[in-house]
Amino acid sequence: MIVELGHFALVLALLVAIFQMVVPAWGAHRGDQRLMAVAEPAALCQFGLLLVAFLALTYAYVTSDFSVLNVASNSHSTKPLLYRISGVWGNHEGSMILWVLILSLFGAAVAAFGRNLPGTLKANVLSVQASIAVAFCLFILLTSNPFLRIEPPPADGNGLNPILQDPALAFHPPFLYTGYVGFSIAFSFAIAALMEGRLDAAWARWVRPWTLLAWMCLTIGIAMGSWWAYYELGWGGWWFWDPVENASFMPWLAGTALLHSAVVMEKRDALKVWTVLLAILTFSLSLMGTFLVRSGVLTSVHAFAVDPQRGIFILTIMALFTGGGLTLFAWRASELRQGGLFSPISREGSLVLNNILLTTACATVLVGTLYPLVLEALTGAKISVGAPYFDMTFGPLMLPLLIALPFGPLLAWKRGDLLGVAQRLMFAALLATIALAAAYAVFHRGPTLAPFGLALGVFVMAGAISDFASRARLGKGSFGDALRRAFNLPRSAYGTMLAHFGVGLMVVGIVATSAYREEKILVMKPGEETSLAGYTLTFRGVAPATGPNYREEVGVFDVARKGAAVTRLEPSKRIYDMPPQPTSEAGIYPAWRGDLYVVLGDAQKGGGFAVRIYSNPLVRFIWIGALIMFFAGAVSLSDRRLRVGAPGRARQTPLAVPAE
């Protein structure tokens, strides 16, 4: 009964979305306030209905209602509650429900918090947003309905892939989708602005918070996925240039460019063409990510050709929105008045460079991801494009970006003084040089150029601190003055500095762990000991254990450093009950200098087990860096100027924003 209610709510949501797509836009076209006013309640209603649909499906999962086909194929009664819930979006149909739910949540948020938006803009934005909802509700109802029943219901379900039964991965999709789908707001704003022909600094100010929120969620979502891969897949790798990863990375790259571009547009009324184009492209890339992951085209072009229904549907949606958006852009772009002028050496100029490099990097990933698919579809020839290709093409683009990064925020708007900025970065350069020398002194092995990579990361971090010092005019005037200035800096300035610091930290982590990783692969018998990276590991033996829905063999390792016991690591090999699939759980000892990572392998002939031990120096900096970037976004988002709408209206008191 509840499941049918959910199904019914989904159909109603589609009807409401159709209504919301047509009526407000018609009202905006005719200048009819009453028709436009419909958008707001419609958006809230659409969200409410989709929430009912989502909760109904969740209910079916939690109560293990195996008369629902989707639950029977993807869940199992012995699964812990958390994974019964995360199982809702652990499959195609359920994840699409989550997709439209988040889409409507953003629409409802614009309806609820966008009180200061001009009436026509708001109506058009919500109308465009509804058109996306219409497309995806239709997609779910016609090709991927999760509410279908089966008769007779099976005694138990097929279960969820055990490597997906993990806390980080349980929350990875919601964050990722919030990021993906959040960019739909930027898209809707761009389309609405192009429709109205009004595109100014105020527009950028309205778009920024939504873009920032989406970017934050995408950042943390990707980081969670990477962290999961690191500890769960048992290889200690954290990024594989897998097409599925690339699918989420491309919107991130474009979204990062969009975020920076929107700042220029807000402050200086420039880079309009870039901002609008990036808004359209970022969401298009999100749609493409959905297509790549959801159509099955990645597994094999042939698998896609055999059952192309879903793929063709998403491809059509993608073509409609991307094609429509770009056509509208091409038609209206020439009318976009070019705003504030600036010299090449200026904040604006540095952000143009940022856009150039990020979009090129994004396009490079796009080409590498799609090339094998397109080539096979066109000629039948099969080639592979893997990590070595991306390292060779993506890497060199990041180098100038990272070198230029600290200069950007220090350059003045309109016309900057490169020499003056270079002087202010002397401190950062000095720290980088010290890092370079220290790295050469400490590490005697590894690639010759790796210390330069570390130094670059330090340069970016120190550059962020220099930016802060320079804004507070630290060292000029009294310390109290500097403190007061620092306190009065806008939160968005803090956001910038923190985010850039996070990038630097991430670079240090990436370089250190890639260049100075150590490993040892050997056979160990109980009682034997070995050493790696200053740690001594004593293998105590293997003991069997049982979990809620798996059995495992746990290896016990005592870890000591300089004769003192440090920890006990217990890597295990698990066999899940349903589906019966082996997984490997690494034993990880996290320390500031890096992780000690132990994996238990198979039993060997003549006793003993294969054991893999890795030392991953500073690897945590990668995720801490991402976390700082997420936090930086939140700080920036809390900036008053972003919350209070249009600029220059002093009489407008801040709206009471309910606690979220």
Binding site: W235, F240, T360, A450, I510, L522, G601
Partner: protein, 168 residues
């Protein structure tokens, strides 16, 4: 011997924000490892370039599939027989086709793949230059046309107005 250029690319790769950190062997079993460390290191370098044919986007170095193990053993066998890195790759490609290479060779088929990043960069730079130096003769260094009489009047009126507090 790895060439200097390759070494440099490796570092650039390392600098990439999210480059592949799969430098180590994760699926290599203890019994596969060659006693000669230099030869083993070469085997690992080669393994990272070869695709496990039955997996999705994994190198044979990362995969624990039986086929990947066979390939790893094959690579080591060829190395022990004195093949160069190139010869080993050539041998594997001759057996399994170009699909096995994770870094596709430069050929007519992959022309677009390899040239695209450079072309895209040039296009983006072109668009960037257009942004910085708009076509309209309004950029720095050119003199705008002189003000008309009416404009002069308006300017005077504007300058005479008291300045509004700046809001930013």
């Amino acid at each position: 011997m790895r060439t200097k250029v390759e070494g440099m690319f490796r570092i650039l790769a390392v600098l990439a924000l999210m480059s592949a950190a799969v430098a180590g062997a994760f699926a290599v079993e203890p019994d596969e490892i060659l006693s000669d460390p230099a030869l083993e290191a070469r085997a690992r370098t080669i393994s990272a370039e070869l695709r496990c044919l039955v997996c999705q986007n994994q190198s044979i170095d990362d995969s624990n599939a039986p086929l990947a193990r066979d390939l790893r053993l094959l690579v080591r066998e060829r190395l022990q027989q004195g093949d160069s890195n190139e010869e080993v790759l050539e041998f594997v490609v001759a057996r399994y086709g170009e699909f096995v290479l994770l870094r596709p060779r430069f050929s007519l088929r992959t022309l677009v793949l390899w040239l695209a990043p450079m072309l895209i960069l040039l296009t983006a730079i072109g668009i960037g230059l257009r942004t910085v130096f708009p076509r309209a003769p309004r950029s720095y260094g050119t003199t705008p046309p002189a003000l008309t009489g009416a404009e002069e009047e308006r300017l005077k009126a504007l300058l005479a107005e008291p300045e509004e507090p700046k809001n930013d």
